[in-house]
Amino acid sequence: MTYLRKIAAIIAKDIAAELRTREMLSSMGVFSILVIIVFNFALELTERQIIETTVPGALWVTIIFAGMLGLNRSLAVELDKGCLDGLLLTPVDRSAIFFGKAFGNALFMLIVEVILVPLFVVFFNVPLVQPWVIVIVVLGTLGFAGVGTLLSSMAVNTRAREVMLPILLFPVAMPMLIAAVKATSGAMMGFPVSDWQQWLSLLIVFDVILITVSVMVFDYVVEE
C-alpha cells in the first residue's frame, strides 16, 4: 500500500466508525449551536460595528472549543477500543498514522464548520461565506487539528484526561488563534489581501512548523 493510501485508509476507518454512532459530530454540532446562542446574549451585539469586531473572535472560539471536544473523543475512543495498539502492530509508518488521525480530526472539524459558518452568517448577519474566509478557516483547522492530535494522544494517556488537552493545547495554539482571528476579520470586512497578509503568512508558518514538529515527535508518543 502506498503511503497516501495508508493515510486514506485510516481516515476512512475513522469516518466509518463515526457514521455508525454519529456521537462525535452530533456533540460537536450541538455544542457549537449552544455557544452561538450564549455569545448572542453574552456579547452586546447591538451595533453593527461591535458585531464586526467581535464575530471573528467568537467564531474561532467556537471552532476551537468544538475542535477540542472532537479531539478528546477521537483519541479516547482509540484508546478504549485498543485501536491504536492494533494500528501500531501493523507495518505502517508511524507518520502515516499521525497524518491519518490528524487529517481525520481536521475533516470532522471541517464538517462541523460547514454548518457553523453559515449559522454565524444567519444569526449575526456577517459576510463570512467568502473564498478567503474559507481558506483561513481551513488553514486554521489544519494547524489546530495537527498539533491537537499530537497533544491529545498524550493527554488521553494521563489521569486528568479531558482537562489535560485544553491545558496543553491552548498556549500552543495561541499564535494560530490570533492570526486566524485577525485574518478572518480582514477577509470578512472585504479588505484587500495586502492589508492582512501578514496574518495569513503567520498562519501558514504556524501550520508548517507545528505539523512538521508534531510528525517528528509523534513516534516518541506512541512507542511503548
Binding site: 494517556n157 494521563t158 489535560m164 491545558i167 496543553l168 498556549p171 499564535p175 503567520l202 512548523i209 512507542e223
Partner: protein, 234 residues
C-alpha cells in the same frame, strides 16, 4: 555529603546579587520621568530573560532525552522548567508592580507581556502533565515532547502580538515610553543603565545555574531513595 561546587556557586551568586543591588541603587542613573520606581526594571528584565533561557535549556535537554533516553536529561528539563516558572512568576509580579505606578494599570497585553504569560502557562502545563502521569518513562517522554512542541510556539506568539501592536495605535502613550525608551540626564547615564542591566542579567544567570544544580541534586537524591526502597521491597 560535601558539595563544594554547590557551595562555591551559592557564594558567588550571593556576591553577584549583592553587587547588583549596589549597582542598581547607588550607581545606576536616576531616570528622568519615572524616578526611583524605574530601578525595578533591572531585576525585572534580568529575571524575565533568565526565565526564557530556562525554556531553551529545557528544549535542549528534552531533545537529548528523546535521543538518549537517559534520565539525567529528564532531570535537567524538569528542574529548568521549575526554576524558569519561579523566575517568570517573579518577573511578572515585579513587572506589574512597575507598571502600576508608571502606566496606571497592572497589566497590558503587549507583545512581551503576552509572551511571558503564555510561556508561564506552558510551564504550568508541563508541570501538570508530569503530575498526571505515573509511569516515570512515559512521564519523561511526554514532557520532553511537550517541551519541544511548546518551545516552537513561543516565538510565534511573540510575532503575532507584535504584529498586532504595530497595526493598532498604542493603547497608552506612556506604554511606548516604557517599552525601553527611558531618559537619563546624560549620555553616560544610558551607558550606565546598559551596564547595570547586563550585570544583573549575568548575576541572575549564575543564580539560575546555582538553583538548577540544587534542584537536580534534589531529584537525584529522590531517585536514589526510590531505588533503595525498591531494593528493600524486592
Amino acid at each position: 555529603m560535601k558539595d563544594t561546587t554547590g557551595t562555591i556557586l551559592a557564594v558567588v551568586s550571593a556576591v553577584l546579587v549583592a553587587t547588583a543591588l549596589v549597582l542598581v541603587f547607588l550607581w545606576a542613573p536616576l531616570e528622568m520621568t519615572m524616578k526611583e520606581v524605574q530601578r525595578i526594571f533591572y531585576f525585572h528584565v534580568a529575571v524575565d530573560w533568565v526565565g526564557f533561557l530556562a525554556f531553551f535549556v529545557t528544549l535542549v535537554s528534552s531533545i537529548l532525552y528523546l535521543r538518549t533516553a537517559a534520565r539525567k536529561w529528564d532531570i535537567v528539563a524538569l528542574s529548568s522548567v521549575e526554576i524558569g516558572a519561579l523566575f517568570l512568576t517573579l518577573g511578572a509580579m515585579t513587572g506589574s508592580l512597575w507598571a502600576r505606578p508608571v502606566w496606571n494599570t497592572w497589566w497590558t497585553w503587549d507583545a512581551r507581556l503576552t509572551t511571558v504569560a503564555i510561556t508561564w502557562l506552558v510551564y504550568l502545563a508541563y508541570l501538570m502533565l508530569r503530575g498526571a502521569i505515573d509511569d516515570p518513562q512515559r512521564q519523561a517522554r511526554f514532557s520532553a515532547v511537550y517541551g519541544i512542541v511548546s518551545f516552537v510556539t513561543v516565538p510565534l506568539t511573540f510575532a503575532s502580538v507584535f504584529f498586532l501592536r504595530t497595526i493598532h495605535p498604542a493603547l497608552f502613550a506612556a506604554s511606548t515610553a516604557a517599552q525601553g525608551r527611558m531618559q537619563f540626564d546624560t549620555g553616560l547615564g544610558s551607558a550606565k543603565m546598559g551596564m547595570t542591566l547586563t550585570f544583573c542579567v549575568i548575576a541572575f544567570t549564575v543564580v539560575y545555574v546555582t538553583l538548577l544544580r540544587m534542584r537536580i541534586k534534589l531529584e537525584r537524591t529522590a531517585d536514589r531513595v526510590a531505588r533503595l526502597q525498591q531494593e528493600l521491597v524486592g
